[in-house]
Subunit: 87 residues, 2 copies
Amino acid sequence: MSNTEKTRTTVDIYGQQYVILGTETQSHVRHVASLVDKKMREIGSRNPSLDVSKLAVLTALNAVNEFILMKEQVERLQSELQRKRTE
Amino acid sequence: MSNTEKTRTTVDIYGQQYVILGTETQSHVRHVASLVDKKMREIGSRNPSLDVSKLAVLTALNAVNEFILMKEQVERLQSELQRKRTE
């Protein structure tokens, strides 16, 4: 979709509704929201005493950690491709 | 560090302390926490009426979205490398 076109998507995460504005498709936003909801429920089931804000912060920590691991993998693959290009 | 060795790291995110248990180094955990704290402050400054739990959920959404984009990039790079290996 074009960069100027904004979508408005209502999602449900951990029993709370959120209206997400952005340039991503509604199906992408729903997919991301379902992953966040799933991760919050996983962490919540292991830590039933946590309140929602702590649970969401731990979910964000988890996601940022996975993002960093994936970014490191991108850097390794880019280096490997660079080596192959100059072989 | 070995897989069996657990670290206990206390971090401060958006004014709240969290004790994180895991196999990552303390310096890695602090780095991840600082990124979550920074992202919460960025989103919070643009949406000052949000409560902490909604802010944390939006931060988690943001992080999972960036993780997915990075994962897609890993898949593209892996395909490209695979093509190069069979050339």
